[in-house]
């Protein structure tokens, strides 16, 4: 018989993970609306792969398979991989990425709760380094022909050119790197076909979906305000300052916040508790660091989006951040620090 406390709050890892999945639904709905059902295929692919890999690894590690399989953590990783990979990527790319995330980034480091790096971001970073072209073929907005997408995922990729287009981030980078076009940046960003109202046609609505899901997570107290606020505020301030300083070289904060994976990162990726900082101040520093690195990589780097690398770099700094931001304990809260 156990010791005190004798009753527990009805909470579980499973319920936390399931609510995270629920919070992803609005963003997924917008994804399907603007880019077709291919994303659902990728989610299923990633989920099945993740669960199978998790089961095998649990078996090999002599852990209770059903208990851990039902905790939902593998599904969260799988969904994040599917949502960060191009939805018309070939099936094996998603499967390979998911296997790397679950087998290497998660279980080889000790499984649930032990991974120093965000598994989904490990998958993204490895795949974009290994297959830069495949990881850059994003679906065209409003091209929702499912048969074609299915063909692209499972069959020949010859018809691909007709289906893909550069993401707004990529498009903007191309423009900004060309001194002749740069002068017309205002007009280009105004072309709603690509750039929509703020963050790119279609993409801005997916971002809004993630934002709504994020508010749900806040309301459910699964995440705290620290990480999303610090991430979005930092991205806003840095991109805003540079856009003010030289508007024809730097995209403004509205675009930065609503394009690419910024909203997904703010509420679902930097908030991963296992690999991120845990103290209140540490969370602020961690998320601000990710935002700053993201902006730097987006602006000066060669990759379409910088979130994965930014997150992994800040994961390395997590223990240090936590160590230096320990909050004072009860009775030790004076300004001098440790002893009153």
């Amino acid at each position: 018989m156990n010791n005190s406390p004798y009753f527990l709050k009805p909470a579980s890892v499973q319920s936390v993970m399931l609510r995270v999945l629920v919070a992803l639904l609005p963003g997924i709905a917008a994804y399907v609306w603007f880019f077709g059902a291919a994303i659902l295929v990728q989610i299923v692919l990633a989920s099945v792969t993740a669960l199978a890999a998790e089961a095998v690894m649990l078996r090999l590690r002599d852990k209770p398979v059903m208990l851990f399989l039902s905790d939902g953590s593998a599904l969260v990783t799988a969904w994040l991989i599917a949502l960060t990979f191009p939805s018309i990527a070939p099936w094996w790319l998603t499967v390979l990425g998911t296997l790397l995330a679950i087998v290497v980034a998660k279980h080889l480091y000790g499984g649930l709760g032990q991974n120093p790096f965000n598994p989904a971001m490990v998958a993204f970073a490895l795949m974009i380094v290994a297959y830069p072209l495949l990881m850059s073929q994003w679906p065209k907005v409003d091209a929702t022909d499912f048969a074609g997408q299915w063909e692209a995922i499972f069959g020949s990729r010859q018809i691909l050119d007709a289906m893909t287009m550069a993401t707004p981030l990529d498009a903007l980078r191309t423009v900004l790197r060309d001194p002749e076009q740069r002068a017309m940046i205002g007009g280009i960003l105004g072309s709603k076909a690509t750039f929509g109202n703020v963050g790119g046609r279609g993409w801005e609505w997916i971002a809004t979906g993630y934002f709504l899901g994020g508010l749900y997570l806040l309301q459910q107290r699964i995440i705290t305000w620290h990480m999303p606020t610090a991430f979005l505020a930092t991205l806003f301030v840095v991109s805003g300052a540079f856009a003010l300083y030289e508007p024809d070289r730097f995209a403004g904060p509205g675009f930065q916040l609503f394009t690419g994976g910024a909203m997904l990162a703010a509420f679902f990726i930097v908030t991963d508790p296992v690999s991120g900082a845990t103290t209140p101040r540490g969370k602020l520093i961690f998320a601000a660091g990710v935002a700053l690195l993201t902006w730097i990589i987006r602006t000066f780097g060669a990759y379409p989006d910088g979130i994965a690398f930014a997150v992994l770099l800040m994961n390395i700094a997590t223990p240090l951040i936590d160590m230096y931001t320990q909050p004072p304990v009860f009775g030790h809260k004076d300004k001098r620090g440790d002893s009153p």
Binding site: M1, N2, N3, S4, P5, Y6, F7, L8, K9, A11, S12, V13, S15, V16, P64, L67, F68, D71, S73, G111, L112, G113, Q114, I222, T224, P273, V274, T278, T279, D322, Q326, P327, P328, V329, F330, G331, H332, K333, S339, P340
Partner: protein
Amino acid sequence: MSALQRLFKFHGGVKPAYNKEASTGLPIAVAPTPTLLVIPLHQSIGGMPRPLVKAGERVLKGQRIGGADGNASSAVHASTSGAVVAVEMRLMPHTSGLSALCVVIEPDGRDEWIARQPFDFRKASPTQTRDYLRDAGVVGLGGAVFPTHLKLNPGKHGKLDTLVLNGAECEPFITCDDVLMRERAETILKGAIIMREMLSARQVLIGIEDNKPEAIAAMEIAAQAANQAAGDLAMQVVSVPTRYPAGGAKQLIRVLTGIEVPHGKRSTDYGVQCFNVGTAYAVYEAIALGQPLISRIVTVAGNVGQARNYEALFGTPMRDLVALCDPLPDSDRVIMGGPMMGLLMPGDEVPVVKATNCVLVGSRKLFPPPPPEMPCIRCGECAKACPADLQPFEMYWFSRAKIFGKAQEYKLFDCIECGCCAYVCPSHIPLVDYYRFAKSEIWAREVDKEAADIARERYEFRLLREEREKQEKAAKLAAKTAAGREKAAAAIAEAAKPAATPEDDTKKALIAAALERAKAQKEQVHPGNVSNLTPEQEAEVTAIEARRAEIREMAKPHLRQDD
């Protein structure tokens, strides 16, 4: 007046289901005297009281049966009159299942008191009053049973700002303070007046969680009357937000005054002292009525048909109280205290003691076994819930890995073991168990280290002593030799007067003396057990040597392997 009081918040805390209504429906009842009282001598923090009675003696109600062992201890009394049947080891109301010395009394049914004399504390010195309370066995009745007389000391400034009366009672199921405040508010405040005088406190703040409106109302009426009588506004009842563990002394002090008393510091250094309302009641009974502490209010609740509060004599078996409350058939355990911090009892025959605020009957249905433990996902729920502002998941990590130094760096010993972290953990990790384990390991190591230190000191002292003895011996020897030389020189001088050169003789004599000494030394060094042997013995020695040589040969390959 409570509206004027500014309140502070403490970090964290949880809101479990309170389950208090079940035991507040009926007034306090007096539990019947059992057929046998088993009164443990050690019922408080501090030294174990010495038994003052022997088997066969008759004792009166309120008679001291255990004398305080020094000042940091508290006396124990017979709960009723009767015969001492035994003074022996009995099972204690503690999870460990250990036994300790108890006085077993067979009540005679007459309930005959000792001569009760009120104690005029205004005429006595503070030390006398404190000694009186120590011998009256008054200890903190909130559950920690710290001797009250030790806390009734205003400290270095000679006066305090605030006396806090703790009526928060935040643990689920427990209502003993609630009903005491409802029914005996006036007596509690009379005790508080005595305490306030002893502490020279400016004000008395009575903190009660806002889920006890009846107790608040009763205490407010009593406080108004007390203030009117005193002509001041010193007594204030303060309704505090209901949130476990608002009744922790440090948390309540924080809520009422904004002061945080750090771990290991005295609250009087910050101008505050905190007592449970039941303790104030006991102080009044001891001082104004001359009655030592022999009973308390105990909530019997949980898996019972009719939960209720009983005034129970110390020594009453818990099962007698449970039986009064119609326990349900699936009951499988008895817990002393509440569900958050209570102790699992090794059996239901253990006695009610001063720390017994609640006898909680449990069942698998009421307190189901926790779901399987999952790994920590560092979600930080525990840190959000911790009222001591700790990072429980870090302490867990280091306690589990037995890196106790690190666990202490994360302020393991500031943990009050309230259970909030384990209560909220989505991975169902029994966090508090890990802290208890780490703390006990650290204590054990400290004890070991102390023992090792003592041993080392002893060893070093021995070395010192041996060195000193050696030096003394050497000095003595040197003195002796010098004396010998002088003597020899004198003898030679005598002999050499007529004949040969004195130098040669001196040399000769010195050499002879040296040879003599060497011979004597050689004899001493020579082991005596192999000289002067009989032929049989010599043969035996040779045989033994041969066997040893054989064994050495056999052992050689193994030795080489080891090399």
